[in-house]
């Protein structure tokens, strides 16, 4: 895939082309996985890879920077966050099926603990709760998608959605609390 293709598709997507999204999604998802794989093989011994890093690299690789404007960067991140969500949720779904009953060892010796903490979120439940949140307020669902799956900071999120940072902060707080309430185990 040529960088200029992606840029063009992305521009179409910005302008509301549903078809562009459909063509773009598999391209980006494939590329993402390919990238991820190469890390986990031998490029980096470090397995604490985070979505932001990957999305960043994707951006650099996929986009024709001569055409890409600042806005297209923001939109790309917004888009990639959505892709990331889909990939991770699909992945979690696959694993749930294959790993049922397997007692995972949780003792680790170093950084991977932080990783475990991040991964403890039930992605499937989160995905469903996010859909419900989108019905209540689609912007808030977008904020969560960008922040959590895209790894965007508050200012980046604000820029992507074209709203103020203070607003993002407040909306993020209530969305997070609400989602937490949806996902937390029922108290007996």
């Amino acid at each position: 895939m040529e960088p200029s293709d992606v840029t063009a598709l992305l521009l179409d997507w910005n302008e509301g082309s549903r078809q562009a999204l459909d063509s773009l999604m598999p391209l980006v998802a494939d590329e993402l996985k390919k990238r991820a794989r190469s890390y986990f093989q031998n490029e980096r011994g470090d397995h604490t890879l985070q979505p932001t890093a990957l999305v960043n690299e994707l951006y650099l690789r996929l986009l024709d920077r001569r055409q890409a404007s600042w806005q297209s960067r923001v939109h790309f991140f917004a888009f990639a966050s959505r892709v990331m969500r889909r990939i991770l949720v699909d992945h979690a779904r696959g694993h749930q099926a294959s790993k049922r009953g397997g007692g995972a060892v949780t003792i680790t010796l170093d950084d991977s603990l932080a990783l475990v903490a991040g991964a403890q979120v039930d992605l499937l439940a989160l995905d469903q709760a996010l859909d419900r949140l989108a019905e209540l307020d689609s912007d808030q669902a977008r904020i969560v998608e960008l922040r959590f799956f895209g790894g965007l900071s508050i200012p980046e999120t604000a820029a992507a959605l074209e709203i103020g940072e203070a607003t993002v902060n407040r909306r993020w707080a209530s969305a997070r609390a609400w989602l937490y309430g949806q996902l937390k185990p029922l108290e007996v």
């Binding site: 980096r44 890879l49 979505p51 932001t52 990957l54 010796l109 170093d110 991040g118 959590f148 209530s174």
Partner: protein, 1027 residues
């Protein structure tokens, strides 16, 4: 919970409102809400509860699972790397986890009785390089000597058949110390005891010349028996310089193992790392275990590493006892007050009291930015904790430097010598970040180039690798700046970023010329890479303007800022950077005296800030605008803005925040300028109380407030108290600031003014000279602040009749101010007035020259809308007085009348300065032979003077003199007599003998009145005292 949009938005709105409130206020608000809408109240309450509990929830992005690559949905899936069956004598039982350096397996010895399970760490990725194998062999021997019950023992090591080094360690079954403490709701004591054990283990390692360098909860597991175990001395550095150490490895690999949250300042900079670095990390750990949050406020995770770096180096941690009571910043890692206390089986107030005092002090010492001021060893740190547990006094003194240093650096970064280190840290951490990012780009040629470049430039100041001593920040930057373009010329984006970083660092070091050069290049690169109108270009322009401002190059700064503002305006939405740009330009124009445009920009900044909606930003703009407005004859607007800024800051930051104190202080100063002394004192005392509470006995901000209280006492004519306040401020600044700190010059100058007024000329001159010397050392040549100090010194020198010297000083001040600020700047007017006074003092033949200076100064003041009315009026008064002396009476009278009108419309008729100008006017009338007009003016003046000043004040006596003389000239002898007689009596009591002038007047009165005996008596040289 809400199930439709409308309801959710209702709940959300209430939630957001309540989030801003304190716990107590929240409960009250909920109770109130329950009465009007119980269901809504319940839902909001639930949401708030979840908010508190949510803790880390979603704050960290999901890690990508490594099995993603083997996802079946992927077309060309790769099989997982096969598990080795055995390594050396160890049988592999299964994977344990993935870590920073490789995979960890659970294993056991397959050959003999030692059946205890072990953990084997196989180094992968960049750690796999064959030449490292022999180094690991050396390290292994040293690390294997560490035999301590709280350290996971290194048992063995070797090389896999594929050539990967591996380490065999004791397998620890436990959970990280922070989770252990929280899960069990351990109270403060139990947490302290755990840390004491950890510190003892660290000390043990230090004695074996091993520094851990990566202490963090994930590396300290606590077993079911409650024993902490330290893991992973994998990046430890061997202190012995001759040893081939792991440091080399770490730097060659680009500092990958760094864990910024727990790193010490020197660790990120690449300054030499010592045992003190571990003590710092222990301090961070203890802080988190005690408070449930990071010592760095608002620390971001994931993104915002640069902000974290700034925090580590520059931000003074909040006192633990204060932190546990304040709400957690929305993005901060950790838990809020209620939850934190609950996890310590306590409640917030109680926990705060528990931490106040000793523990605050111990943390302060452990978390000091400068390694040499920290605890000398982990042992000493542990000893203090144990002493505290035993109820004995701790060794650490409440060294407030810790609390003040961070903040000091934040506010006055450019004036502090310690800042050098601060900015270096940013450089290297940025390098680290780059490396981390660039490792992702390994395959491309660009990444290789940049990463090699950065490693070489920034990773060398390690003594083990460099030349025996650490490179200075300056050398490091120079080296980077020189090589950067040669080696990275094909990557304009990277080049731009790096040059910006280097420029900022130079600026931090106070090397403005170098900063300017680097930033100029950054500007060119960004323009090429991002387009001339991109926000990225504006960012550099703003940075560059600041460097130019510090360097005193105002015209260039202004040009850059205008460009930045125009870019920001063209790239909406106007966010915080735009507000920043507008304020910068407004300040530049204010400095230049172009107040109309500055006012518009301040207004635009304020509007933009309000649109952005961030209340901290709004408060900052309001505060700055208030300072500006106060010089615009709009005290009421200024006051209103101060009060709004104060309210906003209290609301968002709490009542006890440093920024609240700053606003109180500036509001106090404003009230002082308005002559509202009682209110001013109240505000200044409030500021003082907060500062004393926050910083203890000594801090630059506290010194500032004391200085202002000193000014207040001076204005209230209570010189003794004023002097004491200034002296306190001076002592405080000597203890807390760098020698070149501008505040020292300011306070010294104020004290000088006070002493000069008391006739203590020698002391005053010494203070002025010190202030001048300090300014000349701290500021670049030609800086207008230096000129201001020159002016004050010159006035003193002039009053001591060293005419030539004073003239030289003033001419220098005048030339400097004109060049730097333009010839119509108020400071130029002030210096012209000083020159006028100096000439006037030198006698009659200088009066013409004096008048010219005054006139020139006055014309500048008149055309400047910001000249305070009182200054303009007094300039008129001075000019008029000179004109009287050289006989230009008509012009003089017109000036006095104009001055009077100005003063009366501003202050009313009863103001002291009104009385002074009336006396001048009376004098002019008298000189023009018009005593009938003079008498009423003098009488009015005298009555005001008598109301405001003691009866023996020279001004009161001048009033009597003027009135007596006018009445005498009117031939109203009986009315004149009491004034003139009183004058002779009062002055003879005060000074031992009445002035010749007064005696002559009284004699003239009696002669004219025909009461000769009295006349002859008054004429006798010894006066009435002898009769």
């Amino acid at each position: 919970m809400a199930t439709n949009r409308e309801r959710w938005h209702q709940v959300r709105a209430r939630f957001e409102e309540l989030l801003e409130l304190s716990t107590a206020e929240r409960a009250a608000a909920l109770a109130g809400l329950a009465e009007e809408d119980p269901e809504l109240s319940r839902e909001v309450k639930a949401l708030l509860g979840w908010h508190v509990e949510a803790d880390h929830f979603l704050n960290e992005p999901p890690a990508l699972p490594s099995s993603l690559s083997t996802d079946r949905t992927s077309a060309d899936a790769m099989p997982e790397p096969p598990l080795p069956e055995s390594l050396g004598p160890y049988r592999i039982l299964g994977p344990l986890g993935q870590g920073g350096m490789g995979t960890v397996y659970r294993a056991e010895r397959g050959d003999d009785a030692y059946r205890k399970p072990v953990a084997i760490k196989v180094l992968e990725g960049p750690y796999r390089r064959p030449e490292l194998v022999s180094r690991f062999r050396t390290e292994r021997q040293i690390l294997a000597q560490l035999d301590h019950p709280n350290i996971a023992t290194l048992l063995d090591g070797g090389t896999t058949p594929a050539g990967q080094p591996y380490l065999v360690m004791e397998l620890i079954e436990g959970i990280p110390i922070d989770r252990y403490c929280d899960d069990r709701r351990l109270p403060v004591e139990a947490r302290l005891r755990l840390i004491v054990k950890v510190a003892a283990a660290v000390q043990y390692a230090h004695r074996h010349l091993v520094v851990h360098r990566d202490l963090k909860p994930a590396n300290i597991l606590v077993t079911d028996e409650g024993e902490p175990k330290l893991l992973d001395f994998g990046i430890a550095k061997i202190l012995e310089p001759s040893a081939l150490s792991l440091t080399v490895l770490a730097t060659e690999l680009g500092v990958a193992p760094l864990t910024p949250e727990y790193a010490s300042p020197e660790q990120i900079t690449g300054r030499p790392i010592t045992a003190g670095s571990d003590v710092y990390s222990l301090g961070v750990l203890l802080y988190e275990l005690l408070t449930g949050r990071s010592p760095y406020r608002g620390t971001l995770r994931g993104s915002g590493l640069e902000r974290l770096a700034q925090a580590i180096v520059r931000e003074a941690p909040e006192r633990a006892s204060v932190a546990v009571l304040s709400p957690l910043a929305p993005e901060a890692r950790g838990v809020g007050p209620e939850e934190a206390a609950a996890r310590r089986s306590s409640e917030p107030r109680h926990l705060a009291r528990r931490l106040a005092g000793d523990l605050d002090t111990v943390l302060a010492k452990a978390l000091t930015k400068e390694p040499e001021r920290r605890y000398g060893s982990a042992d000493q740190f542990a000893a203090d904790l144990e002493a505290h547990l035993d109820g004995k006094p701790v060794q650490a003194r409440p060294d407030t430097f810790f609390y003040r240093s961070g903040k000091f650096l934040r506010r006055h970064a450019w004036a502090s010598s310690a800042t050098a280190a601060a900015f270096l840290i940013l450089v290297t951490l940025v390098a680290v970040l780059w490396l981390q990012r660039l490792q992702l780009l390994r395959q491309t040629h660009r990444a290789e180039t940049v990463s090699t470049f950065l490693t070489n430039v920034f990773a060398t100041p390690d003594p083990a690798q460099a030349r025996g001593d650490a490179l200075s920040a300056r050398e490091l930057l120079d080296r980077g700046a020189n090589r950067i373009e040669r080696e990275l010329v094909r990557e304009p984006e990277v080049l731009g970023d790096l040059l910006l970083t280097i420029g900022r660092s130079y600026k931090g070091l106070g090397l403005y010329a170098q900063a300017g050069a680097a930033l100029d290049r950054a500007l060119a690169e960004r323009r090429r890479a991002e387009g001339a109108d991109s926000p990225a270009v504006a960012e550099v322009l703003q940075e560059l303007a600041e460097a130019k401002t510090f360097a005193g190059d105002y015209p260039t700064a202004e040009r850059h800022l205008r460009q930045a503002v125009s870019i920001r305006r063209r790239t909406p939405p106007l966010g915080q950077p735009a507000v920043e740009a507008l304020m910068q330009l407004a300040r530049a124009l204010e400095l230049k005296g172009e107040r109309n445009e500055a006012a518009e920009l301040f207004a635009e900044a304020l509007a933009a800030a309000r649109r952005v909606g961030d209340r901290a930003t709004i408060a900052a703009v309001l505060h700055r605008t208030a300072i500006f407005d106060r010089q615009d004859h709009r005290p009421e607007i200024s006051e209103q803005r101060f009060r709004e800024a104060l309210a906003l800051r209290r609301e968002t930051l709490g009542a006890d925040h440093p920024d609240v104190a700053v606003t109180l202080n500036d509001l106090g100063l404003f009230l002082l300028e308005q002559g509202r002394f009682a209110e001013a004192e109240k505000r200044l005392r409030e500021a003082e109380a907060i500062e004393r509470h926050l910083y203890g006995a000594s801090h630059p901000d506290l010194a500032t407030t004391l200085n202002n209280l000193g000014l207040l006492r001076g204005r209230q004519n209570r010189p003794k108290e004023a002097e004491e306040l200034f002296q306190n401020a001076v002592a405080m600044l000597q203890a807390t600031t760098a020698a070149e700190h501008p505040l020292r010059a300011t306070v010294g100058q104020n004290l000088g003014d006070l002493l000069q007024n008391q006739g203590r000329q020698d002391e005053a001159e010494k203070l002025y000279r010190q202030a001048l010397d300090l300014r000349q050392r701290a500021l670049p040549p030609g800086h207008p602040d230096t000129a201001a100090t020159l002016n004050n010194l010159a006035r003193l020198v002039g009053s001591r009749q060293r005419w030539a010297e004073a003239t030289t000083l003033l001419q220098e001040a005048l030339a400097t101010s004109r060049t730097a600020l333009g010839s119509r700047h108020p400071q130029v007017a002030t210096i012209l007035n000083s020159l006028g006074e100096l000439e006037a003092l030198q006698g009659k033949e200088h009066l013409g020259q004096a008048r010219d200076y005054y006139r020139e100064g006055f014309e500048i003041a008149r055309t400047n809308p910001a000249t305070p009315p009182i200054d303009l009026a007094m300039a008129l008064n001075n000019l008029g007085s000179i004109e009287v002396e050289i006989g230009e009476l008509a012009s003089a009278k017109a000036r006095f009348k104009e001055a009077l009108a100005l003063l009366e419309s501003t202050f009313g008729k009863d103001h002291l300065n009104v009385a002074m100008v009336r006396l001048s006017l009376a004098g002019a009338e008298l000189e023009s032979g018009n005593p009938k007009a003079a008498s009423p003016a003098a009488a009015a003046a005298l009555s005001v003077l008598l109301k405001n000043l003691p009866a023996t004040d020279p001004w009161v006596l001048a009033g009597h003199r003027m009135l007596g003389k006018s009445l005498l000239r009117e031939k109203r002898f009986a009315s004149a007599e009491p004034h003139l007689a009183l004058l002779v009596r009062k002055t003879s009591i005060g000074s031992g003998s009445a002035s010749r002038q007064d005696l002559a007047l009284l004699a003239e009165l009696y002669a004219a009145w025909g009461r000769l005996p009295e006349a002859s008596r008054e004429r006798s040289p010894h006066g009435p005292g002898e009769s």
